[in-house]
């Protein structure tokens, strides 16, 4: 893939370069940087460059989809699949005790608006309570309900609705 610079960014690079030169003009560095030579590959022995530890990206990578749990119609109970996902969430949260998180509660479109706001609250709190039961300090967790306002699946069918009946845990960077 070729990288094309627009005129604007070319000007920016020039400007940035001249600024850098201006900053360094006064004295030479104590140690010279290594000669540019043959490009060397990154040392992969430690693993590929991944998300920063303790970040939301790291949380998502660690839970591998387990940041979201799902519910049956009108239900807000934690089933065994949900429990397993919440276990993983708790593991991570306990590893990074300074991190806070928000649990979002969502519903499918097959409900009235106000009731769905309330049901989303139930779902978010069910997840939060379960995490607290696993030792995560509840003070670190907030909840918010989006009712049926933020679907992820856009169809009007059982598959889409099942994907939308969810609670999502999002860590706050």
């Amino acid at each position: 893939m070729s990288v094309r610079f627009s005129t604007g960014s070319r000007l920016m690079l020039l400007a940035a370069g001249s600024l850098a030169l201006a900053a360094c003009a006064s004295k030479a560095p104590k140690e010279l940087p290594p000669e540019p030579g043959v490009a060397t590959t990154t040392d992969t022995a430690q693993g590929t460059l991944g998300p920063a530890p303790g970040s939301q990206a790291d949380f998502q990578a660690f839970t591998q989809g387990g940041d979201t749990i799902y519910f049956d119609t009108d239900m807000y109970n934690i089933d065994s699949v949900d429990a397993a996902a919440l276990q993983k969430q708790a593991q991570w949260l306990l590893k990074y005790p300074a991190r806070r998180a928000t649990v979002e509660g969502h519903c499918d479109e097959r409900g009235t608006r106000d009731y769905n706001l309330a049901l989303g609250e139930r779902r978010a709190n069910a997840a939060k309570n379960y995490l607290a039961g696993l030792g995560v300090d509840a003070a670190r967790l907030t909840t918010v309900s989006y009712g049926k306002e933020r679907p992820v699946a856009l169809g009007s069918n059982e598959e889409a609705w099942a994907q939308n009946r969810r609670a999502v845990t999002i860590t706050i960077d």
């Binding site: 009235t112 706001l117 918010v144 933020r150 679907p151």
Partner: protein, 462 residues
């Protein structure tokens, strides 16, 4: 809200057709425990499909003027205003399936002198049974005087007349007042045209809808956006005095209820609690606000003075108790609860006592709204599809008014005879506002600039 100055309003005779309508028989599930249309207090529902006044041919002529002068109204000079006024009246009646209106286009335009002395033979020949004429005058101070006259062509008699002084910006209100006068006089019903609607304007993809608070006149004119859409706005309600709007906003990331002051263009929270609050409602006298609040995942209904202060908790069940609508006399509240295992409709006194279920007809029942007339409760009946339905306040007399995939959240026109709701289209999730009358007739879409939901009808403006 500016008061229209009524010059005179004369009722010359009893309503044209006295209505003795048979009560609608109950439909719905077989439960015979709750039945009957006569309330303990003697309230009787009288709605019928057979209204003789519906077939009245009404000719509406362009309003005349004594002098054609420019005005500050967006409709132009007084002569142009006269045509526009008549058009608004004609559209009001036609769009709501009321009578058989004709004109002003295609009809002879009366002179200023003829407005109060119509040429009846002309109208008899045209088979118009009723005739509406009017005038508009520009006052020295810039305001407009509008007169509206209703004539019975066969009897050669003036049935009703009224007049109003309005600012040029409010010229449409004079037309709506005229429509209300004609409608009330001929049907015996209460007026509803001179009112406004608050709703949520929707744009964007289904998973990232932009939702803005918006207002418009009852016919869709004078549309205005009140929020930018940066924060999702939901479920607005006009205050009874039209000075403010209650609504839900995700302004700070969490759902909170605000009172939006229309004159000051400012808003305040109704409660300082950091718990999520939603489903705001006014009491009919504008003194109380009902709202639902979730604490630790459980939602209950609360009441707070419209002036602010401490809230009073009204429900305390482990179920979801949400919504709520006052009876017109403010003594009772109908609300929604799933404490029995599914969404159903409950009644309670305004102080929270005597909570009892009234919906026993299968399926789920949600979003109950008490009619301004007190005789019916509209709600969303969920049995597979979401249908707009009504029942009497004891839970009997169930009637369905619509039958689409998802119609929900009915609210009432000020006269308790028309219901407004929003319809969601399957798959696309497109929402539009619709109206239907209490007999299930004249289901029509209310035109809005973009998609729309959560419509709430304010009362008649004074």
């Amino acid at each position: 809200m500016k008061k229209l100055i009524a010059l005179c309003s004369l009722v010359l005779a009893a309503p044209l057709m006295a209505q003795d309508n048979p009560a609608i028989p109950s439909e719905g599930s077989a439960s015979s425990a709750i039945q009957g249309d006569v309330e303990p207090g003697g309230l009787q529902v009288t709605v019928t499909d057979e209204n003789e006044w519906q077939d009245l041919g009404i000719a509406i002529t362009a309003f005349a003027t004594d002098r054609d002068v420019p005005t500050q109204a967006n409709a132009g000079s007084t002569a142009a205003l006269g045509r526009s006024l008549a058009q608004v009246v004609s559209d009001d009646l036609r769009n709501n399936g009321l009578f058989k209106p004709s004109g002003p286009l295609g009809l002879p335009q009366p002179s200023f002198a003829q407005v109060q002395a119509p040429e009846y033979p002309v109208w008899s020949l045209r088979s118009a049974e009723m005739l509406v004429q009017g005038y508009v005058r520009a006052n020295p101070d810039g305001n407009l005087t509008v007169g509206c006259y209703l004539y019975d062509v066969a009897l050669k008699q003036q049935l009703e007349k009224a007049g109003w002084v309005v600012s040029p910006a409010d010229w449409r209100r004079a037309a709506h007042k005229c429509s209300d006068m004609v409608y009330s006089r001929l049907s015996g019903e209460s007026p509803f045209f001179d009112s406004k609607i608050a709703y949520i304007a929707e744009t964007g993809p289904k998973n990232r809808r932009v939702k803005r608070l918006a207002i418009m006149d009852s016919d869709g004119a004078n549309h205005r956006y009140l929020t930018s859409g940066q924060a999702t706005a939901l479920t607005p309600r006009y205050s009874p005095d039209y000075k403010s709007i209650l609504y839900l906003s995700y302004l700070n990331g969490n759902p909170r209820i605000y009172v939006y002051d229309l004159a000051g263009n400012s808003q305040r929270l109704i409660t300082q609690s950091s718990n999520p609050t939603f489903a705001p409602r006014w009491s009919p006298d504008g003194k109380w606000i009902l709202y639902s609040m979730a604490i630790a995942g459980n939602t209950d209904i609360y009441r707070v003075s419209a002036k602010g202060g401490p809230s009073q908790r009204l429900t305390n069940s482990p179920g979801i108790d949400v919504g709520g609508s006052f009876s017109p006399d403010g003594s009772q509240i109908v609300f929604e609860s799933d404490r029995s295992g599914s969404q159903q409709v409950y009644l309670m006194n305004a102080d929270g006592t005597n909570q009892r279920r009234i919906s026993f007809f299968g399926g789920r029942a949600a979003t109950p709204e008490w009619s301004p007339r007190g005789d019916q409760i509209a709600f969303t009946h969920i049995t597979g599809n979401f249908r707009i339905a009504v029942m009497n306040p004891s839970g009997g007399g169930l009637r369905h008014l619509t039958d689409s995939w998802q119609d929900e959240a009915p609210t009432w026109a000020p006269n308790g005879r028309i219901i407004q709701f929003f319809r969601t289209e399957r798959n696309s999730g497109k929402a539009t506002i619709w109206q239907v009358d209490l007999a299930g007739r004249n289901e029509r879409r209310l035109p809005t600039p973009v998609d729309a939901s959560d419509p709430a009808w304010g009362p008649i403006q004074p």
